[in-house]
């Protein structure tokens, strides 16, 4: 888009010399304003809606700095801890630390194995979770729970949403 082109173009010589450049500036400014508005919208919304996605250990490590803030936490569901009150629709359970980095998952031999190890490991960091709502289908021992919610002062996590993954159901499991 060099300005030489404009001067040489037969069309612009028939018009006033500055008109096309002026007209194009108008569009560049207009476009820039719109793009600026979109970028502003994305930036401010990111700031207002972003939340940490932490493992149990990372959440514990941050201690009181995250109390009351919206965070997402993932962990392995400890089977014996699941308690459900159908009348009150109150679900409580404990999750154990499980790393979500691809390297450690690979070292464990896949997500399913990593979850199984986490539940059996007495040293793994743990987190008590409280959730109001019907017990999800996939709420099972050694499922991976992904929860959005807040950590309370008493150290329990109050989940607003609860997603579960049972990797053995999705990845090709043992064939016997």
């Amino acid at each position: 888009m060099s300005s030489n082109d404009i001067v040489e173009s037969p069309r612009s010589t028939t018009n006033t010399l500055h008109r096309p450049r002026h007209a194009r500036m108008k569009f560049i400014v207009g476009g820039a304003l719109i793009l600026g508005a979109v970028v502003y919208l994305i930036a401010t919304t990111t700031l207002s809606t972003a939340q940490y996605y932490l493992t149990v250990e990372e959440l514990r490590g941050r201690g009181s700095t995250v109390v009351g803030k919206n965070v997402r936490v993932s962990g392995a569901v400890m089977g014996e801890s699941i308690q459900y009150d159908a009348q009150a629709l109150e679900l409580t359970f404990t999750v154990a630390q499980v790393s979500d980095s691809p390297e450690s998952l690979q070292a464990a031999g896949g997500l399913a194995q990593a979850l199984a190890q986490a539940v059996r490991n007495p040293q793994a960091a743990r987190l008590n979770v409280h959730y109001l709502g019907p017990k999800p289908d996939l709420m099972r021992p050694e499922a991976q729970a992904i929860m959005d919610g807040q950590l309370r002062e008493d150290g329990t996590f109050h989940a607003d949403t609860l997603l579960l993954k049972c990797p053995t159901r999705y990845e090709s499991g043992p064939r016997s």
Partner: protein
């Protein structure tokens, strides 16, 4: 053996694709047509070979050959033969093969149909498509082979999946297969993957022609656009169908009362659709005004790269998703391929910028061109926002070491206003003239829809404000009715003009209007579909109500003006290996009995997986969506229900169907298309014009 045949079909396709890509370019560069012809023949042969491979996989799935690893993974005795066929795209290996097969089919079609017409472009079209195909068939061959067999290693007791017999192992035949994931046994999920793949792979045709046009220096003419216009439309159509089916599947099967969750996998599919929509619009400007040439190339490169990126996200599980996809070893090679495609195409475009000079300048803000440009900017803005939100966890982890996510609220807040602006543009842009629009005339055309929509909004406010004080919802309602009225008025004016000039009655005039201007009025029907969907989204976003609770026999749950009374619960075995728990409950509105609902929970024994089947009372105004989420397992005398009231949700589906119908009309071949060249305004451009680049 049969599976060896399949394997060799894959191997030969792979070699042929590489041969065709290389020889086509060599033939074109050295001007030796026999080489190009040879490349074409090789490329044509890939399709029957891959068809053979697909048929062999399907044969294994239907006849339940459980020595095959893929069959043992996705097929099972309890599945019907039809479901066994659909298992072709129920897993990784089958999906990748299916992808390649579709693409080879499109390649063959375009090479047969357009060979004479686009001779100069064809060698490079072959190069691009066959290069891509070699990559996908290579994935099938070396990383995710559908013909891998199961072997038992007596030394370790392990079962290994491999194409060739590992040393010291014996063939292993599984008793039964895992079967298709029960969640996928739904018409939406049976139709969703193939339509999506057709959409994704279909974009390779316009992309390949664009690249060929760039290489040959012909991208400034619109041969590539005219040749591939219908291909683009069809690819886009299938992507739209895939989106609608996916949404419907989520609504029917996932049991959360919604249809779109801004999950990475959904976003991956939405992005190429968004840029594809922008491309479909801006290519009209190149056809009619010879402008936005660079822009169009950018858009098709983006659309195609995002299609590949979408396949990458869905098939490699790189971004955590609630959807059932496995992680796989394809990740790194796939990412490299997507990056090379995207960056290589952009590099090529920058080298050829000189061939992409615009023939006109933008004249005025108040012209159809500038509104199209604005629309393009908005679509790209939404695409960028979706891309940003989808990849944010990965990027933040790379930059800060901590994963930070943004959820549905982010996507809703950012895309909401942008989509609203798009809907508004959709209503007014068709009324704008090319080059320059007179303001007074525009005002007259918009007056009636404006008054009408304000009346609708005020009426809705008077009725609903006390219970539902949502200013955004009212604005949405105004917007929807304004755009619906402007669009309908276009039909009315067109038909009226025909009635006067041709003396036809209204219906005949409307029919002729449609059949004589398929592109234009098909487009308007698509717009009406979008408006209907927008109405559904407004209803779902602002007026949704829900409740949940556990009730005993004879007890009730209430939400809005509905009451659900629990009658009884029964447990019985169903077909294809499921055990069904079914509640019977009566639904009342304002105390008056409407119907009996039977929400279910099906438990698939082999997969150990429950599937919640909602019972829905569906009307144009709203859906009452009832889920059975728990029960007393011993006495069966109490059940836990979750009830959603989803206002206007059927407008989403009706809008989707209207949308698809409009696209079909716009894409249909008509004699008119061939007789009247579409670029009426072009001759006034002095050719060859040294006018400056405008896009």
């Amino acid at each position: 053996m049969l599976y060896d045949l399949g394997y060799f079909a894959l191997l030969i396709s792979f070699l042929l694709a590489i041969y065709a890509a290389g020889v086509a370019v060599f033939g074109a560069q050295s001007q030796r047509m026999p080489f190009v012809e040879s490349a074409r023949n090789a490329a044509l042969l890939v399709f029957p070979l891959l068809t053979l491979a697909v048929l062999i996989v399907v044969y294994g799935l239907v006849t339940l050959d459980f020595n095959q690893a893929y069959v043992a993974d996705v097929s099972s005795r309890a599945m019907s033969p039809f479901l066994r066929v659909t298992a072709l795209w129920g897993g990784q290996q089958g999906s990748v093969l299916f992808w390649g097969w579709m693409m080879s089919g499109f390649a063959a079609t375009v090479m047969i149909r357009k060979w004479q017409r686009d001779r100069e472009l064809m060698p490079y079209v072959i190069f691009v498509i066959m290069g891509t195909l070699a990559f996908f068939v290579g994935l099938s061959l070396f990383i995710t082979n559908p013909f891998a067999r199961l072997w038992h290693d007596p030394a370790t007791g392990e079962i290994i999946a491999a194409v060739f017999q590992p040393v010291g192992t014996m063939p292993f035949i599984s008793q039964d297969g895992q079967g298709l994931n029960p969640l996928l046994r739904h018409f939406g999920m049976i139709g969703h993957p193939p339509t999506t793949y057709i959409g994704f792979t279909g974009f390779v045709i316009p992309y390949a022609f664009a690249i060929a046009a760039l290489i040959t220096g012909k991208a400034g003419e619109d041969e590539w656009i005219r040749t591939t216009r219908r291909w683009t439309l069809v690819a886009w159509l299938f992507l739209s169908i895939g989106l609608v089916l996916g949404g419907r599947w989520a609504y029917d099967v996932l049991g959360w009362g919604g249809y779109w969750g801004w999950d990475p996998v959904e976003n991956a599919m939405l992005m190429p659709w968004l840029t594809g929509t922008a491309f479909l619009h801006s290519m009209m400007i190149q056809e009619k005004r010879g402008m936005l040439k660079v822009w169009n190339i950018v858009l098709i490169i983006l659309t195609y790269s995002l299609s590949l990126f979408g396949t990458f996200i869905t098939r490699t599980g790189v971004i955590g998703s609630v959807h059932a996809f496995s992680k796989s070893a394809m990740g790194p090679s796939f990412l490299i391929f997507v990056s090379v495609t995207f960056l290589g195409s952009l590099l090529l475009m920058f080298k050829r910028l000189g061939t992409l000079k615009a023939e006109h300048e933008l004249d005025s803000f108040l012209s159809r061109e500038s509104l199209f440009l604005l629309q393009n900017l908005l679509f790209l803005g939404i695409t960028f926002a979706v891309f940003w939100g989808t990849t944010f966890p990965m990027i933040s982890e790379l930059v800060t070491g901590t994963k930070i996510t943004v959820g549905p609220p982010f996507f809703k807040k950012v895309t909401g206003p942008l989509f609203a602006a798009l809907v508004l543009l959709m209503g007014i842009a068709p009324l704008f003239a090319w080059r320059k629009q007179a303001v007074a005339k525009l005002g007259r055309a918009l007056l009636i829809p404006f008054i009408g929509s304000v009346v609708v909004m005020v009426g809705a406010t008077l009725v609903h404000w006390p219970q539902h004080p949502y200013p955004f919802a009212l604005f949405g309602l105004w917007l929807v009715s304004f755009v619906a009225l402007t669009t309908l008025l276009e039909f009315w004016r067109g038909a009226l003009a025909r009635m006067h000039s041709q003396g036809e009655n209204f219906l005949a005039a409307l029919g002729h209007l449609l059949s004589r201007n398929r592109r234009r009025y098909g487009g308007y029907i698509i717009h009406l579909g979008v408006v209907m969907m927008a109405l559904g989204v407004v209803g779902d976003e602002f007026f949704k109500a829900e409740t949940q609770g556990t009730v005993g026999v004879g007890q009730s749950l209430a939400v809005e003006n509905y009451t659900l009374t629990f009658e009884n619960l029964r447990v019985y075995p169903g077909s294809d290996g499921r055990e069904i728990v079914e509640a019977t409950a009566k639904l009342y509105r304002d105390g008056e009995y409407i119907l009996t609902l039977q929400p279910r929970r099906d438990f698939f024994i082999t997969q150990q997986q429950p599937v919640t089947v909602p019972a829905v009372y569906s009307t144009p105004g709203e859906d009452v969506y009832v889920l059975l989420v728990g029960w007393n397992e011993i006495s069966l005398d109490s059940s836990t229900f979750k009830i959603y009231v989803n206002p206007l949700i059927n407008w989403v589906w009706a809008g989707g169907l209207t949308f698809i119908m409009g696209t079909l009309i716009a894409a249909w071949t008509s004699l008119e298309d061939k007789r009247t060249a579409s670029y009426v305004l072009r001759p006034e451009a002095p050719r060859p014009s040294p006018a400056p680049v405008g896009g």
